[in-house]
């Protein structure tokens, strides 16, 4: 495989962003077209990679390696296994949809779209890089476009506070993890940041137990691990729609996936030691966020807390430390990403037209924004784990995985039961939000809000498609994911 698929996916948006910045200042349409083109190239290639990935062979494919800092053993080394394939596809899809959803932006569109694309680039890199140093570089690369996007285009009352809080939280988390990564680098004695090579090193149990916690929790901050989640609802409430979509949809997955790849895969003994305890934090994610979402009346905060709860399920899947749990976690990342992005997109559509986020002040919007209501219904049903949607497939795997993990700690089955109860809570708050916002009498002041535009409809359709298709026919995605999980397990020697 000689064509550099992954590099094209990663760098097409960079090129588009540079071209956008070179445009004259006052252009309105060209930046959007260029952004859509850049994101589309990535999406096309990501679909290609998804179809072309050899499920039977498994392991890392589409590998490219070029030296970067050979003195310290770092190289530009990309490749994806079945897990990475799904996440790259997710990011490409959501990036493209985020561009479509933002078409109405008139305030400095040049900067907005360039930064949005750069944010996507960081995520692509974080999903595909197999070199720890560059992984960290791309991981943190996403932070600065996000800060600027929120502070410039966000919701006025909250944007300065929300942006700063989010940035500093995430930076602190990642830097703590970086210290751990440097410890791995020097202790391995290999003088390389190559994750595949480092995966073969058997670190001493004491070392693994010491460093697992800072690395997992450090990256876990970006996955909104309780109690380090509070940047998330504030940040999302402050952020412009496209940023909330991408942040909730893919960035949290970056946190979870990086925590998994670095902490769990490189330090499996540490994981086995700590996971039975960290799993309680993840339960808090589900329980705590669900309770808050049940009483919150701000449309955007409800979705923000829902995403905190879902990430709890993802992390629990990883904590199960078995094939079912991990496969469920990856499926959940994919499903949750789409659900969260779609929900935020629809919150944005409603807010842009009504300038109200208080659900009790809305009502009857379905009469004006039927496609948005349909989209929210799909996201909502998927979110509450309704069979027929992809999230159901994910949750079943995670909970079965937890059930089977009883050998790790006796309380795992109990945790599975508590989390299933959390799903009932999800159903309650999603239905409540849907009812207040979309059902009931249409208030007179909303009588002539503009309908959902064609590009928004395309975005809703594009996001619904995998959610429903994967739910009805899970074999569409599961073989890819499982080939990834199995190849990882094979390296660990059946952990």
């Amino acid at each position: 495989m000689n064509f550099p698929f992954l590099s094209v996916i990663i760098f097409a948006p960079v090129i588009a962003a540079v071209l956008i910045l070179l445009l004259p200042k006052d252009r309105q349409t060209e930046p959007k077209v260029l952004a859509a083109a850049g994101a589309f190239i990535s999406l096309f290639m990501a679909v290609w990679v998804f179809l072309a990935y050899d499920r039977a062979l498994g392991g890392y494919q589409f590998v490219e390696q070029v030296p970067w800092l050979p003195v310290i053993g770092s190289s530009y080394y990309v490749g994806v296994n079945g897990m990475g394939v799904m996440l790259v596809l997710l990011n490409a899809l959501l990036l493209f949809c985020a561009v479509l959803i933002s078409w109405h932006i008139e305030e400095r569109p040049r900067e907005f779209f360039a930064l949005l694309l750069l944010m996507g680039v960081g995520v692509f890199g974080a999903f595909t890089l197999l070199d720890l140093l560059l992984l960290v570089l791309f991981y943190e690369l996403v932070l600065f476009p996000i800060y600027l996007l929120i502070v410039n285009w966000g919701w006025k009352p909250l944007r300065e506070y929300g942006a700063m809080k989010l940035t500093l939280y995430l930076l602190l988390g990642s830097l703590v993890a970086v210290v751990g990564i440097l410890a791995i680098y020097f202790t391995s004695g290999l003088r390389t940041f190559d994750m595949v090579a480092l995966g073969g090193v058997k670190f001493s149990p004491e070392f693994q137990r010491t460093w697992f916690l800072p690395i997992f929790v450090g990256f876990g901050v970006l996955a909104s691990l309780w109690p380090f989640y509070s940047w998330s609802p504030d940040g999302y409430a402050a952020a412009p729609t496209a940023v909330s979509m991408l942040h909730a949809g893919v960035l949290k997955n970056v946190g979870a996936f990086t925590a998994f790849r670095v902490a769990v895969l490189l330090l499996p003994e540490g994981a086995k030691f700590w996971m039975p305890y960290i799993v309680f934090l993840m339960v808090m994610n589900v329980v705590y966020a669900t309770f808050i979402a049940l009483v919150h009346t701000d449309f955007k905060y409800i979705i923000g807390f829902a995403s905190v709860a879902h990430l709890g399920v993802v992390l629990m899947g990883f904590a199960a430390m078995n094939e079912l749990g991990w496969s469920g976690a990856v499926t959940m990342m994919f499903a949750h990403g789409i659900i969260a992005a779609m929900s935020f997109a629809i919150v944005g559509m409603v807010y842009d037209r009504t300038h109200i986020r208080e659900i009790k002040e809305l009502g009857g919007i379905i009469r004006r924004l039927a496609p948005a209501a349909l989209g929210f219904a799909i996201a909502g049903f998927a979110s509450m784990g309704m069979p027929g949607f992809l999230a159901f497939v994910a949750e079943v795997q995670v909970f079965l995985g937890l059930w089977k993990a009883a050998s790790l700690a006796p309380w795992y089955p109990a945790i599975a039961i508590i989390s299933v109860l959390g799903i009932i809570g999800t159903a309650a708050y999603m239905l409540r939000a849907f009812q207040y916002v979309f059902m009931g009498e249409l208030k007179p002041q909303f009588a002539d809000i503009p309908p959902v535009g064609p590009l928004d409809k395309v975005a809703i359709a594009l996001m619904s498609l995998p959610l429903i298709a994967g739910g009805i026919y899970p074999l569409l995605v599961l073989p890819v994911i499982q080939s990834g999980v199995q190849s990882v397990l094979a390296v660990l020697g059946g952990a």
Binding site: L21, W68, I72, E111, E160, L168, L175, V178, V179, L182
Partner: protein
């Protein structure tokens, strides 16, 4: 030791310094010939001459090793620092052309070149007397430059403050040198280093501390940092930039060399001491920067903090530590000069250096807005810019040497740093101002400065390898 016979190749080995001296004389001569209204072009003369010196330094294979009977030592690291000074000098000369309050004349550029010459000599000196002369040449030229805007009281006050602090620290250092001479009966580094091992411990450490006062003044590390905010604020902005990069780098050139070749016997002591100083310097610089309302004071405290990061590399006491510190200084030179180049433009326009005055900058000139943002992000350690790679290498060297606590303090400081850098970026991009519709034209020299520094900030981040490799090989001779 005795004196060896004069060897003509010695002159060749200090060719860059000789060329700097010649250039200074040429610039002073051209100044006499130029009519007053064209004196601004002296900046171009200076920059062009420095580019020639830079090319000679990089391309001509000059003889290495000791010269003039061991008074100077030309080695890889000295080569790296020469390049840092020349690069800084070129950028500052170009930047000075656009700083309106400054009288553009020969003495200004001449002094700049003499100061550069002093720095270059500091980097190669391996003899206490040579070192002292070089430091005084650097210092005295800089005192005058800081007070160069005589009409402005702040500039004159800054010049006096800088002079008083400089004279005081230099006197303490000289007293320390006299102790070292007493220990060794000579002034060559090798001679002193071998003698210190036999000196009673508290005396040796005391001498080391006195010498450190002089070096610490140059790099603006705590507790020798008090002068920095006032002097940075009062000095002509291009000179502030020059002090913050050139003088600091020269101080580190001397410090790193002295640690390895003057005080190797005290390594156990100075590692502990540098760890402590580095922690305090980073934390104090960053914490004070948070409250600043004036951009030059903010950058002054930020540059104190940056010195703290570089000290980590020194405390690591390893090849990776020295290489990372030198790499970081290269990156720091371009990013700090970039930030000051934007400050020059804004203060020309608004006459003020308050951070509030940067409101709406990105709307007036997106080039300046993005430039300042990239510079500050790089200073703050945001990837993929040079500052990120630099910090990563520095922290890596600390962990390699087992300085975990220092790394943790460094990491916390990066967060504090990012907070105030982001606050400036926020003002530039988000805040509105009444004049935001008036476009802001950037003059050509500043465009070049910003173009070069921006390219360097990005390239040192994503393609750090060739430069780091060069620095790594340069530092190999020391270990």
């Amino acid at each position: 030791m005795g004196f060896t016979a004069f060897n003509p190749t010695w002159l060749l080995s200090i060719l860059p310094e000789l060329l700097l001296l010649a250039l200074a004389i040429v610039v002073l001569g051209v100044d006499l010939a130029l009519p007053a209204e064209r004196k601004r072009t002296l900046g171009l003369w200076t920059a062009a001459g420095l580019i020639v010196v830079l090319l000679v330094t990089l391309l001509v294979p000059l003889p290495q090793g000791p010269a003039f009977g061991g008074v100077v030592q030309i080695d890889g690291i000295a080569g790296v620092f020469r390049v840092i000074f020349l690069l800084g000098g070129i950028l500052v000369a170009l930047m000075s052309m656009d700083f309106q309050p400054l009288r553009q004349d020969g003495p200004y550029y001449g002094l700049l070149l003499f100061s550069l010459l002093g720095m270059s000599l500091m980097a190669i000196a391996e003899n206490l007397v040579m070192l002292y002369v070089a430091m005084e040449l650097t210092g005295i030229s800089a005192y005058v430059l800081v007070g160069y805007m005589r009409e402005t009281p702040q500039s004159a006050e800054a010049g006096l403050k800088y002079f008083l602090f400089g004279a005081f620290s230099s006197a303490v250092m000289l007293y320390g040198f006299s102790w070292l001479y007493a220990f060794a009966g000579g002034t060559g580094y090798a001679q002193v280093a071998s003698a210190i091992g036999f000196v009673r411990f508290p005396l040796a450490v005391l001498a080391f501390l006195m010498v450190l006062v002089g070096f610490g003044f140059k790099v603006a590390m705590v507790p020798m940092h008090f002068w920095a905010p006032d002097v940075y604020q009062g000095a002509p902005t291009p000179i502030t930039a020059f002090l913050s990069v050139g003088s600091k780098a020269a101080g580190f050139a001397v410090l790193l060399r002295a640690l390895q070749f003057l005080f190797p016997a005290l390594e156990m002591t100075w590692v502990v001491l540098l760890v402590a100083i580095s922690m305090v310097t980073m934390t104090l610089g960053n914490t004070f920067a948070v409250w600043q309302k004036n951009i030059k004071r903010l950058l002054a405290y930020s540059s104190i903090a940056q010195a703290g990061y570089v000290l980590i590399g020194g405390a690591a006491a390893s090849q990776m530590g020295v290489a990372s510190a030198a790499f970081y200084l290269i990156v720091y030179t371009v990013m700090n000069i970039a930030a000051f180049a934007v400050v020059v433009q804004v203060s020309n326009l608004t006459g003020s250096e308050e951070i509030e005055g940067f409101s709406g900058l990105a709307r007036r000139s997106s080039f300046l807005g993005w430039s300042l943002m990239l510079a500050l992000f790089s200073l703050g350690g945001v990837p993929p810019f040079g500052g990120f790679v630099g910090k990563l290498l520095i922290f890596a060297s600390a962990i390699q040497s087992g300085l975990i606590a220092l790394t943790v303090v460094g990491v916390i400081n990066v967060i504090i740093g990012l907070y105030y850098y982001l606050n400036v970026v926020k003002v530039v991009f988000e805040r509105r101002s009444e004049q935001e519709q008036e476009p802001l034209e950037v003059p050509a020299p500043s465009k070049w400065v910003l173009g070069i520094t921006m390219a360097a900030i990005v390239l040192l981040g994503i393609l750090a390898y060739p430069v780091y490799q060069w620095v790594w090989q340069a530092s190999a001779g020391w270990f």
